[in-house]
């Protein structure tokens, strides 16, 4: 129980830190977002009265009151789910705009992470088993290089080869524009077909975890119980999976949770390139439109998602690892 409270407390602090950053960021930046927004309205040929300026100031939270008061107000409204009103999609509330795009990102990132976990685990296990061999060198080096290449290049190259030149996969959107979202086999197939390239790009950027799994596995293979297994004459395959891999799997749960922020960062870029209607595309559009309430909402939501994944991983590890449970007692 102490473990849970500790972890939960940590994520609560992290959440407050994120809210604080979100609150102070627009206020710390040189240049006034209110002024720059008004300037873009002007250049668009709009007629701006003093009332409009006041309304915009209020929208951004720049009201005549002490800073600490608006800070407390901000935190209060965050918890009530009142994240402000989007400027681009005026007068829709930020949260409702985000909810339109959220499912696609969850689908894309969720599928990619599951597939990536399976691939990296198996490649890591085999690489560690054959360490020093040809398979090991090829897999670890290629995996690391591919992971280090930024998502933009991976995604652009995939787009260039498979969507633009060979035309094997579609070049945008989450499903065929002729179909309606409904529970049919045809629609599901279209969704999967459109997700192949973006998911591949996200998976490729997370291949760096092969190295983590390999290192875990090598550490396990040096343990006495492995030698004991061999000594007893347990078959290799069983030593590999039931002895080594089972124990090496645990730390990878945490590693994956830690890399969620990185994966979300990658998916933002990937969604933009493949015109995939997720949070990344929305973020890009709102950045281009300087829709600050929406940008802040997105940043906060992505942070909350990453934090809750981490919390989930911590809970999962607690149930999977008996050593942690013993420590608590």
């Amino acid at each position: 129980m102490k473990y849970f409270l500790q972890r939960f407390g940590f994520y609560l602090i992290a959440f407050f830190a994120a809210i604080t950053i979100n609150f102070f960021l627009p206020r710390m930046m040189p240049g006034d977002p209110v002024q720059s927004y008004i300037a873009t309205l002007y250049s668009g040929g709009g007629n701006i009265s003093a009332d409009t300026v006041h309304a915009i100031e209020k929208l951004f939270g720049f009201v005549d009151q002490p800073l600490w008061k608006s800070y407390l107000n901000y935190i209060g409204s965050m918890f009530q789910g009142d994240w402000g009103v989007s400027l681009k999609y005026y007068p829709r509330p930020v949260l409702s705009v985000i909810m339109d795009y959220l499912p696609w990102t969850l689908f894309l990132v969720g599928t990619s992470v599951v597939i990536s976990y399976i691939i990296t685990t198996f490649l890591g296990i085999f690489a560690a088993w054959n360490r020093g061999g040809l398979f090991d060198s090829i897999v670890t080096i290629t995996g690391q290089i591919v992971a280090n290449i930024p998502a933009i290049v991976t995604a652009l190259l995939l787009y260039m080869i498979f969507a633009s030149q060979l035309k094997i996969f579609p070049s945008g959107y989450a499903y065929d524009s002729l179909l309606f979202p409904e529970y049919t086999w045809e629609f599901a197939r279209s969704v999967l077909y459109h997700a192949v390239l973006p998911a591949t790009a996200v998976i490729l950027t997370s291949l760096g975890n092969i190295m983590v799994m390999r290192a875990n596995m090598i550490n396990q293979l040096g343990e006495d119980y492995i030698v004991m297994g061999w000594g007893k004459g347990v078959p290799d395959r069983k030593v590999m999976f039931s002895y080594g891999a089972r124990n090496a799997l645990l730390p990878l749960v945490t590693t994956f949770a830690m890399s969620m922020g990185y994966i979300f960062g990658g998916s933002i870029v990937v969604e933009m390139i493949f015109n995939y209607p997720g949070l990344g595309l929305l973020m890009f559009q709102s950045l281009a439109a300087r829709d600050y309430p929406l940008i802040q909402g997105l940043l906060l939501l992505i942070t909350v998602l990453v934090l809750s994944m981490n919390l989930l991983a911590d809970i999962l590890v607690y149930f999977l690892d008996p050593r942690l449970r013993k420590q608590g007692k």
């Binding site: 940590f10 994520y11 602090i13 992290a14 830190a17 994120a18 950053i21 960021l25 627009p26 930046m29 040189p30 240049g31 977002p33 720059s36 360490r131 020093g132 061999g133 670890t140 080096i141 690391q144 290089i145 280090n148 290449i149 930024p150 998502a151 933009i152 290049v153 652009l156 190259l157 787009y159 260039m160 633009s164 030149q165 090598i218 830690m258 969620m260 922020g261 990185y262 979300f264 960062g265 990658g266 933002i268 870029v269 933009m272 390139i273 973020m283 890009f284 950045l287 281009a288 300087r290 940008i295 802040q296 997105l298 940043l299 992505i302 942070t303 990453v306 934090l307 981490n310």
Partner: protein, 297 residues
């Protein structure tokens, strides 16, 4: 002669390092020697729009009729410099924070570790995006600064745990007994013993910084008048290069980023191998495992 042979043997034993250095030198030298390799001006209109690769224009031209090969070479200069500057900032911040946390321990350590963990769980790329967007179109050096200021957490964590293990060694106690100042103990006793970790961190950070810079500029937060790999990708995307089939416009910067990333990654692998004797042990043991597989042991 013997020297050369020695060198060759060393290179053959460290294939990763050799290939990595070759790739790195290839990219860095061709960027540095850009005026010798191409006679075209990177920002001048010298040909028609979207011309396919030919002998005159090795990588074709952009929509504005600029030579892609020349742009790649000149653009690489800025990209690499910004990456290295950002990596330096990151590493210095990580070192100060990490060493302080690891050395002083206690309350300071707890506080700093909590801060490090918080910074690590808050997703980096969206945060950088928001900061860049609020600053508007910014020059490459500011992009380097933003990346440096937001990416130190991982390094600080690694350095902290390393400091913790070095701190309790005898030579540090000896220095304390000799009455060396705390500052000297930190930066002249503890730090030199982490050189291998620091250098591998540095290489890793350079990779990250160059890639993050390209990402930011591709998303449109760079100065569109400067020439870097990220800006080239941004321009290609904006002129719908792929839609009209001008794939060569993307090839230059992509190739530059891939070659540089691959070279630096390989170098990092070999630094790890040299500095971490555990990895070497596994190399020796691999012979044993191979023999066991064949049933000889």
């Amino acid at each position: 002669m013997a020297r050369i042979n020695e060198c060759l043997t060393f290179m053959r034993q460290n294939m990763k390092l050799t290939i990595g250095l070759l790739l790195l030198l290839l990219v860095v030298f061709s960027c540095a020697a850009a005026p010798l390799l191409t006679s075209h001006n990177p920002v001048e209109r010298i040909a028609g729009s979207h011309e396919a690769p030919s002998i005159n224009h090795i990588l074709g031209t952009t929509q504005l009729g600029r030579d892609v090969f020349a742009q790649t070479l000149y653009g690489g200069r800025t990209s690499i410099v910004v990456g290295v500057v950002a990596a330096f900032i990151t590493l210095i911040l990580a070192m100060v924070v990490g060493i302080c946390a690891g050395y002083f321990g206690g309350v300071i350590d707890n506080l700093i570790t909590t801060i490090i963990n918080i910074v690590m769980v808050i997703p980096n790329i969206p945060l950088i995006l928001v900061m860049a967007s609020m600053l508007g179109k910014i020059s490459p050096i500011y992009i380097g600064l933003i990346i440096g200021l937001t990416s130190w957490a991982w390094g600080a964590r690694v350095i902290r745990s390393q400091t913790l293990s070095i701190r309790t060694r005898e030579f540090v106690y000896a220095a304390e007994t000799l009455g060396e100042t705390r500052f000297r103990r930190l930066f002249f006793e503890v730090m030199p013993n982490m050189m291998s970790i620091l250098s591998s961190l540095f290489v890793g950070t350079v990779i990250y910084a160059i890639m993050a810079e390209a990402t930011l500029e591709f998303l449109g937060f760079g100065d569109p008048l400067s020439t870097t790999w990220g800006i080239m990708l941004f321009n290609a995307q904006n002129s719908a290069a792929l839609r009209v089939g001008a794939w060569w416009e993307l090839l230059g910067p992509c190739l530059g980023l891939v070659l540089l990333g691959a070279g630096l990654t390989l170098i990092n692998f070999s630094i790890d191998e040299v500095s971490n004797p555990k990895l070497k042990v596994h190399k020796i043991m691999s012979n044993f495992y191979r023999m066991r597989k064949k049933g000889k042991v």
